[in-house]
Symmetry: C2
Subunit: 337 residues, 2 copies
């Protein structure tokens, strides 16, 4: 293990997982944290809450389809929503580099307002720190969020209900966010405009959660990409997962950029995508609901939970072969969110 | 108004107040945020909660009496406690510069664990981002916190109960934290060791809140110092406040440093100090409780709410004169917390 922090420790993949286990869990040790869900599930009085936090360091601050403010609100809204909670309240804490244009801060603040309005959450508390020029890069934003969780959804983020035969659905194309940010960072011109998929998914999620469908598990597909999540859901479990590569929606433009830069779309970060594990019997219904929704119209059934290959995630490739999907190692694109 | 962000926008004084009003309140506008209390007071189900956030960027990361981890836990615990709430759950979000020694991260993480144990709170959720060398300075930590608030304390952070005749009490010496951090930053050698006062105040606060004393208002004295808080409590109110300079506890060593560097102790940041406004009849009892407590043994009654000088904070100086105390303008010591 490295003695210093590497970029990969922030990738959301293997190194991040090691750091969490070997440092944070080791000291902070408690059952809520050890569940390693995106949101902590906590009892406060008679109410079950989801509580989550994320810091955003995306570079550049403005990119096609969004900015750091939009990201900061939607990231936290989505972390709450995938835990089955109704997002309610958000905090906003800013670390700003001396010299940032106040007009830029206003654009970012307005984005946060617009997205919180869309999601139906309130920004209720905040903090501002300013550091000297060169001590941070423009602006970093932390948002933490609180949502109310219905007791019947208490275990949806733990994966404990997943079983063989369940289907895997995602709500649209993967990789748009990572490629949009990378393009903006490197000042690339794309033939087809690629925009971040950054969006609040809570209304979409509520629609299928309230439909009586048998939802087993949800997680938003952010850092680490689809590959990392499917690897995580089978880790130390008695079942495997099989993903049908041909069914995974990836835009031609994103595929093209991946070929040029040597990226695998399965590892790319997203900011408006959710992976759902749903019982076979409910899969069709969830797909129908998805298709009627702005953020779900390109949804796809991409795979299933298998009895065989326990603990493994297998990709059945377009050309007919199959390979094991692993978590992201190292870091492809630092500061993607 | 400046078109760019200045260091003073993070001072906790006048410029911070302007930025909050002109940018954040303008866009995020809602009654909870507009209360401008340290913690938001929110209703979740049948439970009243306090919810707060703070980002910590202190430089250096390690200083006499503490480190950024200790600060991050206690700062958020204290923000919850002064709102009258019982601190319960904390989030921890790290922005780390590539190359940080993992052994340093472990010391910081262990501090966070130790302080959260002392305070009786649990760290239940977190996030880790890593940025390239030079894109932040070692480590920034955000903590957000949730506490349960008894309905009878709902207005303790708003100041609405303050009235002429009330007494002002603080729980000990001011300025230790700022001078300890500045000393470590500038690598100064002090004749007498000056240590940060960083401490969790929730048990102390609970002791006098539960004593039946008539507590009108509390706030922790952090950025902006004592001067900024006493200015804020009388702002646009029909009463004034009078502070007796001779009664304000300042260590000789801190006074000495202030004389050398031209600081006014009243503006210095603290991390273990609370200002309490209490009815005349309860002042003695609160002082007695304070004196029995580790973090209150040097408590002092430093002033009172006055009918005259409405809207003004007056300092009656040791030499007999008096002057108006205003909020901190500009920034004396950036990255103090």
């Amino acid at each position: 293990m490295s003695k210093t922090i590497l970029l990969g420790h922030g990738s959301g993949g293997k190194l991040t997982g090691n750091l969490i286990k070997k440092t944070f869990i080791r000291y902070f040790s408690n059952p809520v944290l050890e569940a390693l869900t995106d949101s902590a599930i906590i009892n406060v009085g008679d109410t079950l809450l989801a509580f989550t936090t994320d810091s955003y360091v995306v570079d550049p601050v403005f990119f096609p389809g969004g900015d750091i403010g939009k990201l900061a609100v939607n990231g936290t809204v989505n972390d709450l929503a995938v835990s089955g909670a109704e997002p309610m309240f958000i905090s906003a804490s800013f670390i700003i580099e001396e010299g940032l244009q106040i007009s830029d801060l206003e654009v970012i603040t307005k984005s946060m307002r617009d997205e919180s309005d869309k999601a139906g959450v309130k920004i209720v508390t905040g903090d501002t720190k300013v550091v000297k020029k060169g001590q941070c890069d423009k602006i970093f934003i932390n948002t933490s969020g609180i949502g109310i969780l219905d007791k019947k959804h208490e275990n949806i983020s733990t994966g404990k209900y997943i079983e063989p035969g369940d289907k895997i659905i995602i709500n649209g194309h993967i990789g748009d966010h990572a490629i949009a940010v990378m393009g903006a960072r490197e000042n690339l011109k794309f033939e087809t405009k690629i925009e971040s998929d950054c969006a609040p998914l809570n209304h979409l999620i509520k629609a299928f959660l309230n439909s009586g469908s048998d939802i087993k598990f949800m997680r938003d597909i952010t850092r680490g990409g689809l590959a990392t999540i499917v690897s995580e859901i089978v880790e130390n479990r008695k079942f495997g997962v099989s993903i049908n590569e041909a069914a995974v929606p990836v835009r031609e433009s994103v595929k093209g950029m991946c070929e040029i830069f040597g990226y695998d779309p399965l590892f790319l970060a997203n900011e408006g995508k959710v992976l759902i594990v749903v019982s076979d019997i409910s899969a069709e219904k969830v797909m129908e609901i998805m298709k009627t929704h702005e953020y779900g119209k390109d949804a796809a059934l991409i795979g299933e939970i298998t009895t065989g290959n326990a603990g493994k995630a297998i990709l059945r490739s377009i050309v007919g072969g199959s390979r094991i999907i692993d978590k992201l190692t190292g870091e492809q694109l630092p500061r993607i969110c």
